[in-house]
């Protein structure tokens, strides 16, 4: 009897042990998370470098692993999501080889000089990703770095034969299904139940990051006549965007779309202040003396002759003071005085060319990130007077003037109203990246280690190219997508902790001993 009693106690004990060793609610249980009315079993992401996971001026393997679509796919896995394949680069260095020749730079890393100052540089390594090595798809990440809106519907955009002449994209040939395929066709072969679309950035960014050297093609609806740095006509954008959504939703798929940020919120444009030139009193006076003729004789003469109005003359006056100064720039939107002055013969040809479209930068102008390594250097190493920004104007491609910004802004506003309208029409989840990046630039976005800001290098959101996000920035975007998907489709998908995602890679070329 006692023995039976003891056996009973022992078995009760072991039962207690067996039943008690798990969480009451396990995150790994089916049904803990769900995708609501959306079906996330097959997911395709369509877009440009932002979709591909490009960062630090290159596409590299770990960057792709941190792309927002890959992060999103990891969330979808909790609710029936399938495998998510990406056309991975061969290494973590980033450069591209075309038949052995390097055609794209390696990723940037943060070096430190001997004084401990940060100095972003290109990683010194031999890239191993060969464009002509073809990868078999289909791929779920159809983000093609460099793609503008109309490129996504263009057959042959990934034709390897077109790469040397710049007639095809250098990344797409690696994973295009055929020479004549288009990105949207390849995306549609995935037959996705859910998609993301983020396109339109390069339609203005090409113009903006080249300092407005291109043409605003508003009014020209033939994209085959566009140059690489031109702004796409908003109607062209609208038609293409509509076509893309028609294709992606043809099988009833749901999705998330994102709009275009304002270029004035990204560090590529906001890091170098407009008045980046320090001068002492003596040097300022000396430089002003050189421009006395321009200010007091040439400009008034041009006004008197009706070549320019008084307003333009005021805008063009050059005046340096002790302290921080705006550099002199060449502004394409100013009246070109070069030929008039040459014909008049009142100045030598060198001066005529110098002052042709000359003015100083103003507070509303944006100096591009690369200008920081040009301002103050010598245009001609043998001429100690040829200081860039003081004696020699900064070239057009290093400055995005107020007027150039306005063209970019108008196009962006147009594109965004199209995106929002079509998102509504197709009942898609929508992320307002424009609002997010504005908030990022104006104070930051909070997370568990403080504030994510758009400060170059230290802000945590932007990578070393000043344009593309860091892995942490991409994780933030992925979280925003999860939030709008949860809201739109009554889903319950988990977010990620963005603090667990890297930002900047410190690395010095060459190796330390």
């Amino acid at each position: 009897m006692k023995i039976l009693y003891k056996i009973f106690i022992a078995s009760a004990f072991l039962t207690l042990v067996a039943c008690d060793t798990d969480f009451d609610d396990k995150v790994t249980d089916a049904g803990f998370y769900d995708s609501g009315t959306a079906d996330v079993s097959a997911f395709v992401a369509v877009g440009n470098s932002l979709t591909a996971g490009y960062a630090d001026a290159a596409l590299y393997k770990s960057g792709q692993e941190y792309s927002f679509p890959n992060i999103l796919a990891s969330r979808f896995e909790f609710a029936g999501g399938g495998t998510f394949t990406q056309p991975l680069m061969a290494d973590n260095y980033g450069g591209l080889l075309f038949q052995g020749q390097k055609i794209a730079q390696n990723r940037m890393v943060l070096g430190f000089d001997a004084e401990g100052n940060p100095a972003p540089t290109e990683l010194d390594a031999v890239p191993t990703t060969e464009v002509t090595d073809h990868l078999s798809g289909p791929f779920h990440n159809m983000g093609v770095p460099g793609a503008k809106s109309f490129h996504l519907v263009a057959p042959g955009y990934g034709n390897v034969a077109g790469v040397p002449a710049g007639l095809a994209n250098p990344y797409y040939p690696r994973f295009a299904s055929s020479a004549n395929a288009s990105v949207i066709e390849d995306a549609m072969t995935v037959d996705a139940s859910f998609f993301s679309l983020w396109i339109g950035n390069n339609d203005i960014l090409g113009y903006a990051t080249s300092g407005g050297v291109g043409v605003d093609q508003a009014g020209n609806i033939d994209p085959t006549t566009y140059g690489g740095n031109d702004i796409t006509d908003p109607n062209v954008f609208g038609a293409v965007y509509s076509q893309l959504l028609e294709g992606l939703t043809a099988n009833g798929a749901k999705g998330v779309v994102t709009n275009i940020p304002d270029v004035t919120t990204i560090p590529y444009f906001t890091t170098v202040p407009y008045n980046a030139v320090p001068l002492d009193e003596a040097t300022a006076a000396m430089v002003n003396a050189n421009f006395e003729g321009y200010n007091d004789q040439i400009l008034p003469l041009m006004v008197a002759q009706g070549v320019i109005d008084a307003e333009e003359a005021t805008l063009r006056k050059v005046n340096f003071t002790a302290g921080q100064n705006a550099p002199i720039i060449a502004d394409k939107d100013l009246t070109d005085l070069t030929d008039i002055l040459l014909n008049l013969g009142i100045v030598d040809p060198a001066t005529a060319h110098l002052v042709g479209q000359l003015r100083q930068a103003k507070a509303e102008d944006l100096l591009l990130l690369p200008s920081s390594s040009v301002i103050g250097t010598l245009a001609d190493p043998s001429n100690p007077m040829s200081i860039m920004g003081v004696a020699v104007p900064l070239p057009d491609e290093l400055v995005l003037t107020k007027k150039e910004q306005a063209r970019v802004h108008n196009a962006m506003v147009s594109y965004n109203s199209t995106i929002q309208a079509l998102a509504g029409q197709h009942d898609l989840a929508f992320v307002d990246a424009n609002a997010l990046l504005t908030q990022l630039a104006e104070g930051g976005l909070p997370y568990d280690a403080g504030m994510l800001t758009s400060e170059y290098v230290t802000g945590g959101a932007f990578s070393l190219d000043g344009v593309h996000p860091t892995a942490r920035g991409y994780a933030f975007i992925a979280n925003e997508m999860v939030r709008v998907i949860n809201a739109k489709y009554s889903a319950n998908l988990p977010v990620v902790n963005i603090g667990e995602y890297p930002t900047i890679t410190p690395h010095n070329n060459p190796s330390l001993n």
Binding site: K26, P118, G450, T505
Partner: protein, 387 residues
């Protein structure tokens, strides 16, 4: 018996609970030896991010050897060796809490000689030194995100072994009447202070801001003082015991690691333990001459305070259940078996005192938390020889 024993006069195991009780042992020589196998499982999950983790802890095997030699009616002497602390906690490398710990292997064992003296019929005392020998091996990632150029997480391994520290113990036993025993034991605090440990850094970025060379480390790890008080009552075939333990854990404020290489900032890891108590109840029923049956329960309070729940010791309060028995092969030999189940309640807790270094984070404190569920199973076996 619920790990009670301070008031129990039974065998050489008294060397652990209360050496002064050993004068009451009748035999000239008693040696007891045994081993336990600790199977523990730790589970963590974060409901916001869907992350989850289970540990793959190697079972640890605390052992003991207790001995007591009865010189005469007044004096007994003996030597004991046992492992009061020891565990391996191993998470999946690079798990979400890897900036706090990937793996930690802690062990301490005590060599404890004793001299016990019987003052009179009712009262006896004992004292002796404790020689504590400890070692620790500990690996964590340097931050939540730092990697080399290929994406491998930068990490550090701290290794200190053969650290020796001296302490002492004091105990007393009082038998107010037949069958009732009251006892108390005190073990002193021992602060293990390795000065010659090693730190090895791996997968560092090739950068002057992370140029950490492998170096020596020193640290301080306290083994707290403990006070044990107990009472046992024997009647018929029964023995009932109650113990109260108090561990003076508030000595453990912070785990600080000092690197010999000046260029590496010292690592300060707040722990802020509090003193903790445990309450133990045990019962034994002597079925017959050969067989004894045992059962017990104890409540173990955690020294960990809220907000300081570090993954290397994810323990809240626990309820512990034991069953077991003993079998006398002969008047010389006895074998004891026991089985203990350690139950921790599911708890949602965090460690809020980690500072993330880095050019972006700049030393900001970032919490690490989630749901925790720990459990343990400890079978044990022991042999007693008496002469």
């Amino acid at each position: 018996m619920g790990h009670t024993g301070v008031g129990v006069i039974d065998n050489a195991e008294g060397a652990f609970f209360n050496p002064s009780s050993l004068v009451h042992l009748k035999n000239r020589l008693e040696i007891a030896a045994g081993v336990s196998v600790v199977y523990s499982k730790i589970q963590w999950q974060n409901q916001g991010t869907g992350q989850s983790e289970r540990t793959h802890n190697a079972p640890s095997t605390p052992l003991y050897i207790y001995s007591n030699y009865h010189i005469n009616d007044q004096f007994s002497v003996g030597l004991s060796v046992f492992t009061p602390y020891g565990s391996v906690v191993e998470y999946t490398t690079d798990w979400p809490g890897s900036h706090l710990v990937n793996k930690i292997d802690l062990s301490a064992f005590y060599i404890q000689p004793h001299v016990a003296y019987r003052i009179n019929e009712k009262l006896s005392v004992a004292a002796g030194p404790i020689i504590a020998i400890g070692s620790v091996e500990f690996n964590r990632n340097l931050s939540r995100t730092m990697t080399d150029i290929d994406g491998n997480r930068s990490n550090v391994t701290i290794d200190a072994s053969g650290v020796v520290k001296l302490g002492w113990h004091l105990s007393a036993t009082y038998v107010p009447m037949e069958g009732l025993t009251v006892g108390a034991t005190y073990r002193s605090e021992m602060i293990m202070d390795p000065t010659d440990g090693d730190a090895k850094f791996r997968n560092l970025p090739n950068s002057p801001i992370t140029n950490f060379k492998d170096t020596k480390i020193s640290a301080e790890l306290p083994l707290p003082a403990e006070l044990l008080v107990g009472v046992a009552y024997e009647f018929d075939k029964w023995t009932l015991a109650f113990d109260y333990n108090h561990a003076f854990w508030d000595v453990y404020k912070s785990l600080d690691i000092y690197f010999e290489d000046e260029s590496i900032p010292d690592s300060k890891n707040p722990r802020n333990y509090k003193n903790s108590s445990s309450y133990r109840f045990g019962a034994q029923y002597q079925l017959n001459e050969k067989i004894a049956l045992r059962a017990g329960y104890y409540f173990d309070q955690t020294p960990v305070q809220s907000g300081y729940f570090a993954p290397e010791t994810p323990r809240g309060d626990s309820h512990n259940f034991t069953i077991g028995g003993g079998y006398n092969f002969s008047s010389n030999f006895r074998v004891d078996v026991a089985f203990m189940y350690i139950h921790f309640k599911e708890i949602n807790e965090s460690y809020d005192h980690y500072s993330e270094a880095g050019i972006v984070e700049g030393g900001a404190k970032v919490p690490f938390g989630g749901d925790w569920k720990t459990s343990g199973l400890v079978p044990s076996i022991g042999l007693t020889y008496r002469m």
